[in-house]
């Protein structure tokens, strides 16, 4: 008798308990293109693939976190580097999806293309349940990326001037080697030392490989890192000039920009000087 009654109570309590959580789950949705992410499926995937680094609670404190020199993303604070949205805002679902798909070069986050698109969308939704920010705030409005203007030598030169004027070199160095005067002091939001991107090493950008991705990096900033947003400081056409110039700093990465730049007398000298110095990994040294 007694036990049956308490079982009934248990059921009631369980049902009540289930209500708010399902209401919470309904609040967080994720859509990537036509895909609709499912929280439960995402949860299973998370606890198969992700928790080792990102932790059981998603706070970036997985059992492996102490051994990583670039800390795993903390999904509870929900600050994301690679966004299409302005600094300080939440990324779009596509941004998170793309980050999972792409992985982060030079960190321990691999590319997850082995998961299906649906599975990655499921993970996006689950990640959004790990922070209350996703229920309180909306994702930012993606910054508009106007069509890329034609590549010209003048554009590259204007970009070079901007690089000096905006003082990108303070961190990234005059030749983009990540060795500017402030470089050694930089820390990320976890107070971990962080190095500015070394263009000369030619590794792929963390937030995507295209010129559009590069455009977004300095128009949105990499939140959680010292890289600020220049969205309120430069005009779109200036941003494109800067993109074209930055490509020429990647002296070990073949691009149309580098080819055009090397075709000029000024550019050829600069690139040649940069190449002889080599890169930290020693790749692409051509004497």
């Amino acid at each position: 008798m007694h036990s049956r009654k308490s079982i009934l109570w248990m059921f009631l309590a369980a049902a009540l308990l289930a209500l708010p959580s399902s209401a919470m789950a309904q609040k967080v949705e994720g859509h990537v293109g036509k895909l609709n992410g499912h929280v439960d499926a995402g949860k299973q995937l998370y606890f198969r693939y992700c928790w080792g680094c990102h932790g059981f609670r998603g706070d970036g404190n997985g059992e492996n976190a102490p051994y990583l020199n670039i800390l795993p993303r903390n999904f509870v604070s929900a600050t994301f580097k690679c966004r299409s949205t302005p600094t300080g805002t939440l990324p779009t679902d596509e941004d998170v999806f793309n980050a999972i798909t792409r992985g982060f070069y030079t960190t321990y986050m691999p590319s997850w293309t082995a998961l299906t698109h649906q599975q990655r969308a499921d993970l996006v939704v689950f990640i959004k349940t790990l922070s209350t920010r996703w229920t309180k705030e909306k994702a930012g409005e993606p910054v508009k990326v106007p069509a890329e203007p034609a590549l010209t030598t003048d554009g590259i030169k204007r970009g070079k001037e901007l690089f000096a004027k905006l003082e990108c070199w303070k961190c990234h160095g005059q030749e983009g080697r990540g060795d500017g005067p402030s470089a050694a002091t930089l820390t990320d939001s976890n107070d971990q030392p962080i190095r500015p991107y070394n263009f000369a090493a030619g590794t792929r950008f963390k937030c995507g490989e295209t010129n559009q991705d590069l455009y977004k990096i300095f128009m949105t900033g990499l939140d959680g890192t010292p890289m600020p947003s220049y969205g309120e400081q430069i005009k779109p056409e200036e941003a494109w000039d800067l993109v074209h110039y930055l490509r020429t700093l990647q002296v070990t990465h073949n691009s149309a920009e580098l080819a055009l730049w090397q075709g000029t007398k000024e550019g050829a000298e600069i690139v040649k000087a940069a190449k002889i110095t080599g890169t930290p990994t020693g790749s692409g040294i051509k004497q």
């Binding site: 369980a14 004027k165 905006l166 303070k170 402030s182 939140d223 010292p226």
Partner: protein
């Protein structure tokens, strides 16, 4: 029996959970009418013990900053007057206001970057009150707050331009830094009520217009930690307080 206790616990959790989700709405705003009260809490923050040796800031990384400080510059971490008054202590009501809510004032608070230093060193303002950040330097800065209860963002700021910002939630205090100039560090104290002050050069502070009641007054210093006092004020009354910060050993 055990089962029953567990169910009660579960049910209680549910009730709490649901109650906790109730949004705070429809409460009267104390800003609608005149000042919320007439009591005053004032006093002084003091520093005791051996003073830390002044830390000289090395600005060599950016000559444009260094040339504005021909005599060099020392850190603003601990600033105490010869009489022992401690500057840059944030004194505020941390408990006792109950459910009262206060709308932020429309006028913005300004912070200036000049000579690659933040002025004031401690910014205090209200949640959702506008903060105007001005760059009067010849160099680009970046404004990078590192909050724990607000959004983190990071904006570049070219010379002569302005960055406007607001912080939605109370937080004491948000570290603010410029990554380009690593010595630039300041704090932004964000309050959901108007009862806060930052001590002046002599270490004095004053909190005005408090409604009568029992309060916890907290004093916070970026390096020396915090101190708490519980007080009770009546309408029109004045309470004098003294907060003493001791030198942290080894400095």
């Amino acid at each position: 029996m055990k089962g029953k206790a567990l169910t009660v616990l579960l049910a209680a959790t549910v009730v709490l959970f649901v109650a906790g989700r109730e949004p705070a709405r429809g409460r009267p705003s104390a800003n609608d009418g005149p000042a919320p009260g007439t009591a005053v809490v004032k006093g002084i923050a003091k520093f005791e013990g051996s003073r830390p040796a002044p830390t000289h800031i090395n600005m060599n990384a950016d000559p444009s900053c260094a040339k504005l400080h021909p005599g060099g510059l020392v850190s603003e971490d601990v600033l105490a007057s010869p009489e022992g008054g401690l500057q840059n202590v944030v004194v505020f009501v941390s408990e006792g206001l109950g459910d009262r809510t206060f709308d932020p004032p429309p006028q913005p608070v300004t912070m200036e970057q000049k000579g690659c230093v933040y002025a004031p060193h401690i910014v205090s303002l209200r949640a959702n009150q506008e903060l105007d950040i001005v760059n009067n330097d010849a160099t680009t800065h970046n404004i990078h707050p590192a909050p724990s209860n607000n959004r983190e963002w990071n904006k570049a700021q070219a010379p002569g331009t302005r960055v406007d910002a607001t912080f939605a939630r109370e937080e004491i205090a948000i570290p603010l830094k410029c990554n380009i100039h690593p010595w630039m560090r300041s704090y932004i104290a964000v309050f959901k009520h108007p009862f806060f002050a930052v001590t002046d050069k002599a270490g004095n502070f004053e909190l005005k217009n408090l409604p009568p009641g029992d309060y916890t007054i907290e004093a916070w210093h970026e390096k020396l930690g915090k101190s708490i006092q519980k007080i009770s004020v009546s309408a029109g009354g004045t309470k004098e307080l003294e907060f003493v910060f001791k030198s942290t050993a080894g400095h």
